[in-house]
Amino acid sequence: MLTIKNLHVGVSGKDILKGLDLNIGPGEVHVIMGPNGAGKSTLAYALAGREGYDVTQGDVLLDGQSLVGMEPEARAAAGLFLAFQYPVEIPGVLWSTFLKTAVNALRKARGQTEIDALGFLKMMKARAEALGISDDMLKRAVNVGFSGGEKKRCEALQLSILEPRLAVLDETDSGLDIDAMKIVAGAVNALRGPQRSFLMITHYQKLLDLIAPDRVHILSGGKIIRSGGPELAQHLEEKGFAGVVA
């Protein structure tokens, strides 16, 4: 589903990713771990098409289509979703407005008819409830004044409402309390299916106990330096990056 070939990404003229290769098949869950500053979020932003994250070499293919050079909204329409490590506050824009606009923009880009207001509201409330997000929270502006954990829950809500083909979750587990992590992991597990793949960035073994991944990769120095099964994360938990990289 996702093929990353020899990806080089520069930020402000500085090379951060230096020849990254990754292959994620349909229905697979892959995990990327790596030390702070390794370039994990850089990879996530480059996939989503953030300005300033310049692909200088290599390619990224989603279902065979190259994403390089595409606008962020076109990538979303192609089925990509990024849960942000640091979700952005948007003053004055209410959750319901934002989510409905997003759902309808995606439907429009895919040649589908718009969802009606009532049907959307029902769907939003049901999915929010499953994630422990109250109606009152959804009456507020997007992320404004939300706690770290609340923001992460709302990233999970967007994931469950937008139903992407490939979800990149950048430390969605960081900042969540234990109960919230279980709820979010449950939501991710419920979304797993043969036609949906996940790339999860995390620092914690805990998440991997809740969401059994297919593959674990270690990103360091702008490259994948090791890949393996879930046991690699276990190994990492015991030895630390120093022990694995050495």
């Binding site: 909204e73 948007i90 004055g92 923009a105």
Partner: protein
């Protein structure tokens, strides 16, 4: 035409109006469009003349035409340029009196229609007296077509314990010059709420001069302006705390595209003896293009004790992080920009108590964003 030379006109350039040959309008028999939403009464000015057959009032409100009566002078304004121009070219002048106990469900509408097939100079005047304990909700509307230069004076007299909700929708024609003073006197226990929405006119200046003249007098002003191309929009306020224990607040949001220019000059005066004053002022501007400019000038003059006085001004462009966040969810860039602009102004709009005008203002903002999109600021 005499130049506007005072310091307070530093940012607003009226020079282009000097070269126009302004004519005096005739009192015709204009066709007046109906009010866009339910109203309890209507006062219509067309090209500076009061149109009696299009105006009506509910029980408890009455108007008189001021023929020879001398009007209150605007001498305590920061400068009297607009008042002087109005006095020099005065057309119709009206006084509206509102008694206590008018329980109208819908607001009153006051319309200033300016239609200049040839360039016209207009100078109407309106006084509103809100008697003790009375309350009034009104929507003041500016619209029209063609080239006009309006110098409008409005006086609001809020007697003790009275209450006024004022919404101003300034959608004047592209070629219009619109100068207006709103002179407000607020007695003890009286409360004024103003919400000013501006997207019209080639050049506009709204000069607000409010005096809080007794304990528990209140003034709350919100202003939203959306300007583009080469428009200039100037809001110049003087809030004078003359008596003790009064409260005032001003929140201004300005969105500027193209080479538009926004101006906010906010002066707060706290007179000796006006102890316990609470005065706030905040201005935020959003620049959508490199050529746009916002000029902000706060001025505080505090001569009393125990005064809470805050002011703040910020100018910035659209938040790139927020824009990317929206786009990453599939929302196309122009639509995402629109959401952010709406979000920027909507907090203020939601604070305005007059619900009747909300839908209309929201629709105007949508339309503005649509046009701004086509130009691609």
């Amino acid at each position: 035409m005499k130049g506007a030379g005072a310091e307070s006109w530093k940012y607003t350039n009226l020079a282009p109006a000097h070269s126009v040959a302004w004519a005096v309008p005739d009192r015709g028999a204009p066709a007046i469009p109906p009010a866009p939403h339910p109203v309890c009464g209507r006062i219509v000015f067309h090209n500076g003349f009061f149109v009696e057959n299009a105006s009506f009032l509910p029980k408890g409100m009455r108007f008189t035409q001021d023929i020879h009566r001398s009007m209150p002078a605007g001498k305590d304004e920061p400068d009297s340029f607009i008042a002087d121009m109005n006095a020099a070219h005065r057309q119709d002048s009206l006084t509206l009196t509102v008694s206590a106990g008018v329980g109208a469900r819908d607001p009153l509408e006051i319309v200033f229609l300016a239609q200049g097939e040839t360039p016209l100079r207009l100078a109407p005047r309106l006084s509103i007296v809100c008697e003790t304990g009375a309350s009034l909700r009104f929507i003041e509307r500016h619209e029209g077509a063609g080239t006009t230069l309006s110098a409008i004076c409005v006086f609001l007299d809020l007697r003790a314990g009275s209450c006024v909700d004022h919404v101003r929708i300034q959608g004047a024609a592209n070629a219009a010059y619109l100068l207006e003073t709103t002179h407000i006197h607020i007695d003890s226990g009286a409360s004024y709420t103003g919400f000013y929405y501006t997207d019209g006119a080639r050049l506009s200046r709204h000069q607000v001069c409010a005096t809080l003249d007794g304990p528990r007098a209140q003034a709350q002003i919100g202003a939203v302006a959306l300007l583009r191309a080469t428009q200039t929009g100037d809001l110049t306020t003087t809030i004078r705390h003359a008596g003790p224990g009064a409260r005032s607040s001003q929140s201004v949001r300005t969105v500027l595209g193209g080479r538009a220019r926004g101006i906010y000059q906010g002066r707060i005066e706290v007179a000796p003896g006006a102890d316990g004053t609470d005065a706030r002022q905040q201005s935020r501007a959003l620049l959508l293009s490199e050529g746009a400019e916002m000029d902000t000038k706060p001025e505080l003059n505090i001569l009393a004790d125990d005064v809470k006085c805050t002011h703040g001004a910020a100018t910035g462009s659209l938040d790139a992080g927020a824009l990317f966040y929206l786009r990453s969810r599939g929302i196309p860039e122009i639509q995402a920009r629109g959401l952010l602009v709406e979000g920027f102004v909507s907090a203020l709009l939601d604070e305005s108590p007059e619900q009747a005008a909300h839908a209309e203002i929201r629709a105007r903002i949508e339309r503005w964003l649509g046009a701004e999109r086509e130009i691609g600021s």
